[in-house]
């Protein structure tokens, strides 16, 4: 896997530390993704190809932890949705946030459709600074529902706060926060048992 382009950390740290936002988040008019999006909107298929190469690692990085074994299907369907509706993107500077929202929603949809997720029992969700976590991320993720994996990805991989994550997922911020808190406590109990 090549380094992820676009916003967020390219090869961020394990869940422990909150990643710093990358210099470019689509607001930079010289951002390569934004200029490619403008050329793609003008019908240049080479620009579409380059934009796909630019966005694919970013989308794959979001879809992988949410859809797990169905990650390739989710990434493909998310990118199909992104590129099919590219012409509806009125402001190319919003490219990354728009792509992220589509990727999260498609990953949750594909994972649910695959019926491989377990019911949402957040008892296993770790705190971001748990040192034991790095080796067990996939194991922890498999015990969560797609919706909760999405919260985790947005919070710990994308660096969104709970309010922004809840807005993107259309979930009340207070509910997200309380569930995360309860989950962390349960996880600590499991570790110390």
């Amino acid at each position: 896997m090549t380094a992820a382009p676009g916003p967020g950390p390219r090869n961020g740290p394990p869940l422990g530390s909150r990643p710093a936002r990358a210099p470019s988040d689509g607001r930079d008019p010289h951002d390569p993704g934004v200029s490619l999006a403008r050329a793609a909107l003008a019908g240049d298929t080479l620009a579409i190809q380059d934009l796909l190469a630019h966005l694919a690692p970013y989308v794959a990085r979001i879809c992988g932890p949410i859809a797990l074994d169905d990650g390739p299907d989710a990434a493909q369907e998310a990118l199909v949705a992104v590129f099919r509706s590219l012409r509806t993107l009125r402001e190319p500077a919003a490219l990354y946030g728009w792509t992220r929202a589509i990727a999260v929603r498609e990953a949750v949809r594909v994972a649910r459709r695959a019926a491989r997720a377990r019911p949402a029992e957040l008892a296993d969700l770790p705190a971001p600074d748990d040192p034991e976590l790095a080796a067990d991320i996939r194991d922890v993720l498999t015990r969560l529902s797609p919706e909760h994996r999405a919260v985790l990805v947005l919070r710990d991989l994308e660096g969104l706060d709970e309010r922004a994550a809840s807005r993107l997922l259309d979930i009340p911020a207070g509910t997200v926060k309380s569930r995360l808190h309860r989950a962390r406590e349960s996880f600590r109990k499991a570790w110390s048992a």
Binding site: M1, I137, R138
Partner: protein
């Protein structure tokens, strides 16, 4: 598959990428087949623009690469009917995307989990200044392309 930070990441192979490309272009279709050959064997034909390429792409007769480097390629092509095209795009193992003013050609190949290589093609006559393909006869042309390719392997 996991990234450097331990989080699982999704892998998007070149055939999946071609499906995305086709979805972004109005009128485009993708035709796919699994061939009982390795990726290297398949791409030795598909990626040989001045050789195998012209033998399985229906309307290509002479193709001459005029510039290539760092994955980018420029080629001059002539159809059986004498029309010329300046094709510009990307060529690397498993992936080829070329466009001219009036043509779009996309090809991809990836190892198939059950064995063999999945090949996919898309393209057709381009609608100028738009990401669109004239949809007439596209399915038949793509099917012909893969049938010819299969016969060469």
């Amino acid at each position: 598959m996991s990234g450097d930070n331990g989080w699982p990441t999704a892998e998007l192979d070149d055939v999946r990428r071609l499906r995305v490309m086709a979805a972004s272009i109005l009128g485009a279709r993708v035709d796919e087949r699994v061939l009982p050959r390795t990726l290297d064997e398949v791409w030795a034909v598909m990626g040989d623009l001045e050789g195998g390429f012209g033998r399985f792409q229906p309307d290509m007769r002479d193709v001459r690469v005029v510039r290539a480097g760092q994955g980018r390629v420029v080629a001059l092509a002539r159809s059986r009917f004498g029309m010329r095209a300046r094709l510009e795009g990307t060529l690397r193992p498993g992936w080829c995307w070329l466009q001219s003013r009036f043509l779009i050609i996309g090809m991809a190949a990836a190892p198939e989990p059950g064995g063999g290589t999945r090949v996919a093609v898309t393209g057709g006559v381009r609608v100028p200044v738009r990401a669109a393909i004239v949809p007439l006869g596209v399915r038949r042309e793509l099917d012909r392309t893969l049938t010819r390719l299969e016969s060469l392997l």
